[in-house]
Amino acid sequence: MHIAEGVLSPPVLIGGAVITLAGLAYGLRSINADNVPRVGVMSAALFVASLIHVPVGVSSIHLLLNGLAGLLLGWAVFPAVFVALLLQTILFQFGGLTTLGVNTATMALPALLCYLLFGRLLRRQGALGVVASFLGGALAVALAGVLTAAALLLSNAEAFTTAAAALLVAHIPVMLVEGVICAFCIAFLRTVKPRMMPKPRNTRERVDVG
């Protein structure tokens, strides 16, 4: 869930913006000119995929997919999440200009962490790959919940305690569903398009274009 405008305190907003700016700067440097269309189109695909509603019991949730995005995009997840959230801000007024920094950081930081932790395990066949991708999807959502709750608590610890706790509890089913979906999705991609699996660091794919 993205935090709405006008809720967080200025120091938290500024902190989020600083983290996001740093992530964007590093993320953009990691994208070479040839990969710019890929990050843009993947960002669009993830945006569309996050509109999908998945049933959970009697209710339904929409997917966050930040873990999947992190696993597939690596550092480029910062610009990708930023762009997707900017579009949500302009299109649906979910979040807003001042919360863009905080909301990007709460989504992208866990995604990046999952990439660093589990990225290189994904190419593995069998149980290890499945567990790594499940954890990647689940942990990214769980940490996104934790960071969102933390942003609320840092703004006004006394008033937001119960709201933050409720937010965390609400993330638990989402976390499990996302883990399962991430695991299935990575398995699908490993079969259909192994090229999309995260690469060992510091190696670049050969580009045919002259």
Partner: protein, 253 residues
């Protein structure tokens, strides 16, 4: 279409303003309002934002629907804040005590959120996404980021159409979403397929760009020139925010 821009077409003064002027005004307004606390000043901000919304002459039912959705998060906070904030008791039901401070805080967040969001709908919603992206570029946002935004905006609709066709196809094969692994696996494959197609499309788009001489630098046509009314509008809104800040200082100091 889920990604329609319902407010971007229109003929009001706000629609005709340059997106750069509106973007600057929206940023100044949002950042300033986020730091204001006094209820009366925030109420004044809401009134100003309401005037902007009226001036934008948007489709009323769609606007109300949008505002409702935006306030879901605020409603969520109203569920907790009035009784979880300590202070002077206003009403007590069993273990739950509604406090004056809790109510005031909730009201403050509500006013602040709506003052910002209403103005942003009036300012940013009245431009096409594409023009907002161009405006970001004019404001010296890094080229790569603007390019990523461009591609995202350009292909979101195509990918959404693809998703629509796939969703229809699985429905035709008697798929009923339930809380089962089969359901999640189906959705995961759907997401995977969207990503694979996106990946392939990105490759082809890149090739199409290379074929037309792309070397990593985006060159685009000039924007239209800023007109006096654009500058005047941005100045007016900036002036308004300064007045709000002055009021806030007067009330607190």
């Amino acid at each position: 279409m889920a990604l329609a821009e319902p407010f971007s077409t229109g003929n009001s003064l706000l629609h005709r303003l340059d997106p750069r002027a509106k973007l600057v005004a929206a940023i100044v307004w949002s950042v300033t309002l986020a730091a204001l606390n006094d209820l009366r000043v925030l109420l004044l901000g809401v009134i100003c934002a309401a005037v902007l919304l009226v001036a934008a002459r948007l489709n009323l039912p769609r606007l109300l629907q949008r505002l409702l959705v935006v306030n879901i998060f605020i409603a969520f906070l109203w569920l907790f804040l009035p009784w979880s904030t300590g202070g002077e008791a206003v009403a007590t039901w069993g273990p739950i005590t509604i406090t004056r401070e809790g109510l005031l805080l909730s009201l403050q967040l509500t006013l602040r959120c709506n003052a910002i969001v209403w103005a942003c709908i009036a300012l940013l919603g009245t431009s096409r996404l594409v023009d907002v992206a161009q405006a970001l570029r004019a404001l010296r946002v890094p080229q790569k980021l603007v390019l990523i935004l461009f591609f995202c905006v350009r292909y979101i609709q195509s990918i959404h159409d693809e998703y629509g066709r796939m969703a229809a196809a699985i429905k035709l094969r008697a798929f009923k979403p339930r809380t089962t692994f089969h359901t999640y696996r189906t959705y995961a494959n759907l997401v995977g397929l969207l990503l694979v197609r996106g990946h392939d499309r990105a490759d082809r788009v890149h090739e199409a760009m290379v074929c037309r001489g792309f070397d990593g630098r985006l060159r685009t046509l000039d924007h239209r020139r800023l007109q006096k009314r654009d500058i005047a509008a941005a100045a007016l809104l900036t002036g308004l925010t300064i007045i709000l800040v002055v009021f806030e200082c007067l009330t607190t100091g």
